[in-house]
């Protein structure tokens, strides 16, 4: 991920140690200076997100990374980035929680990530990689989207992906970065500029908020990403993201061999969420099983998307427990057979 970020033109990394993502900072500390960039181990997660803000306001590509408790601390700054319309990339390698929790893979930060996370009426674009390769690929996408929409982008991975080793194909380094005619680099040959989120006039504050909302609608219209796996004839759709989707995919494969018509739908953007696509799937299939490594968070988005047009079941394991594909296959299978029994009645 770190190498992908450097290749995506990121030249500023600011972070604070927290497991399970320290490899990112360690890699950056060695390779960012080689690329002519800056690495700083900040005094806190809070300071690191504001260093990102400072670099971003000058027009540079900047990022930070952390894990759940650290991301909570960064939320203040993420809100400021969103309010000031500044691009930034934030990697959250989620761990078990709440509180200090543990360092195992978990997906308990779905709500925090997809609902804005900090204070105020805003959204961050949330990308959920299902493999190390996709983490690499989405890193480039994250920087592009952040610049395109002048908005923070979060990559929501978890301890499982964070601690996995897989061969990856790295992208070619980005050669041309976008011009930023809004950046603050000293008022040379132009009037002075400012970047702010404080707008005391209520009408102007409302206008600014509507402007942000229009941008969010545009993102919803253009940037939804998902993967569909064996859905054509599926009688039961499993919905899962990130590493849970990877486990679910294994389970689906296994069940297909046994002749069960099950498929997988994997949202890649968690915000914007593929509501419309899931609603469309309900035209073909009347049963959905949401599987998450938490007690039911994306579940709410799936239910909203379906609005009662299909049955939704849930299987979740909070706290960092990661079931095997065999465990998940059992759950999916039993749900599948129950359906057949019900139909038979």
């Amino acid at each position: 991920m770190a190498e992908a970020a450097i290749r995506a033109g990121c030249r500023f990394y600011f972070g604070y140690p927290i497991t399970p993502q320290n490899e990112v900072a360690e890699y950056m500390s060695e390779h960012m200076p080689e690329a002519g960039g800056t690495f700083i181990q900040a005094e806190s997660e809070i300071a690191s997100i504001y260093m990102v803000l400072g670099a971003s306001v000058t027009g540079a590509r900047a990022m930070t990374s952390s894990s759940s408790p650290g991301i909570s601390l960064k939320q203040e700054g993420i809100s400021f980035l969103a309010g000031q319309e500044l691009p930034a990339v934030i990697l959250n390698v989620m761990r078990g929680g709440p509180g200090l929790g543990n360092i195992a893979g978990c997906q308990g930060d779905y709500f925090q990530a997809t609902r804005g996370g900090g204070h105020g009426d805003y959204k961050t674009i949330v990308l959920a990689p299902g493999s190390v390769q996709e983490l690499v690929d989405l890193t480039g996408v994250a920087f592009e989207l952040a610049d395109k929409y002048r908005n923070p982008v979060m990559i929501l991975a978890d301890g499982l992906i964070g601690q996995m080793r897989e061969p990856v194909v790295l992208p070619e380094p980005v050669k041309h970065l976008p011009e930023k005619d809004w950046a603050l680099r000293g008022a040379k040959g132009r009037p002075s500029r400012f970047s702010r989120s404080l707008i005391l006039n209520v009408r102007r504050m409302e206008e600014h908020n509507w402007k942000l909302q229009r941008k969010f609608r545009e993102i919803e219209a253009n940037e939804i990403r998902f993967e569909q796996y064996l859905l054509e004839d599926a009688k039961l759709v499993v919905v899962a993201f990130g590493s849970a989707a990877r486990v679910a995919k294994g389970a689906v494969k296994r069940l297909r061999k046994e002749g069960l018509k099950v498929g997988l739908f994997r949202p890649i953007t968690l915000w914007p969420f593929p509501h419309k696509k899931i609603r469309e799937l309900a035209n073909e299939c009347s049963e959905f099983l949401v599987y998450e490594l938490n007690a039911g968070q994306m579940l709410e988005d799936v239910k909203l998307a379906l609005s009662g047009s299909a049955e939704v079941f849930f299987y979740g394991r909070p706290g960092g427990v990661i079931p095997t594909p065999m465990d998940v296959a059992k759950i999916i299978g039993s749900r599948y057979y129950q359906r057949i029994k019900r139909k038979a009645k």
Binding site: Y50, L53, S56, R185, K188, S195
Partner: protein
């Protein structure tokens, strides 16, 4: 006829929103005079604090980014590391620098970030309505210390600048006051020294603490405020150079070329 005094070129022709007798407008004016005198308008950037001076961009005609409360030194760090040629002015108040942003203040200093922090110390939270600050003096009343600050109850006033001055990453630290014409002149000299640290490439942070009046929340007249500052506040927070580790300025002084 020769014009010998006027509004600084980079001070926007706008009426200050600050209360009568407040020190912010004096410091704003001097900073903008210096931006002109040092000819750095095209490469200076300000970090505005949460607090009364949050609207600094309404007055200072330079690039300005707003910061959250206490985070100015981190924002300034990101800016300076990204564009080292910029002259970065990080403007903060006492609650900002010495309470919520203590960590950011200390660590920007410890990293020796080449920025200038202007620390406005009026011993009280101004914008939020007169609550106790880390720098509120013993016995001084605040809306959250209605009986006056009692160290047994509210703890002691914190002199963070003196602590910061002990950090090797601070190349220059001076405390000044804007309660008298003499103090104002010295403040301008100190601010210039602070800015020159960046122009000279001094390897560290410059800190200029400005003791400043807040008549509204002190519940005093502007004149009494100045008097109180001279007679009481500057006894606890002494006006002086706290540390001078400048290498280039010292070399210049040695060669007789004093600024």
């Amino acid at each position: 006829m020769k014009k010998i005094y006027g509004r600084p070129k980079y001070l926007k022709p706008r009426k200050f929103h600050y209360c009568a007798g407040c020190g912010h407008s004096l410091v704003h004016k001097m900073l903008m005079e210096l931006v002109d005198e040092l000819d750095i308008a095209d490469r200076v950037i300000g970090v505005a604090p949460a607090g009364c001076a949050v609207l600094a961009y309404d007055y200072m005609d330079i690039d300005i980014v707003e910061s959250a409360h206490g985070r100015g030194p981190a924002v300034a760090t990101g800016i300076k590391r990204s564009v080292p040629n910029l002259v970065v002015i990080n403007y903060q108040g006492d609650g900002d620098l010495a309470a919520i942003g203590t960590a950011e203040s200390i660590h920007a200093a410890s990293r020796g970030e080449q920025i200038m922090t202007v620390f406005i110390n009026n011993g009280i939270y101004g914008m939020t309505g007169g609550q106790m600050a880390p720098t509120t003096l013993e016995g001084m009343r605040a809306t959250t210390a209605p009986k006056g600050r009692d160290p047994r109850r509210e703890g002691y006033p914190l002199d963070l600048s003196s602590l910061l001055a002990q950090i090797p990453g601070v190349v220059y630290a001076e405390r000044v006051s804007v309660s008298t014409p003499r103090g104002i002149r010295q403040t301008k000299k100190a601010l210039e020294a602070g800015l020159r640290c960046q122009l000279d490439g001094e390897p560290g942070l410059a800190l200029i603490e400005v003791l400043s009046m807040c008549p509204t929340n002190w519940k005093m007249s502007p004149l009494d405020s100045c008097k109180w500052m001279d007679e009481v506040m500057s006894k606890k927070f002494q006006v002086k150079v706290l540390v001078d580790r400048r290498t280039k300025a010292i070399k210049k002084a040695a060669s007789g070329n004093v600024d």
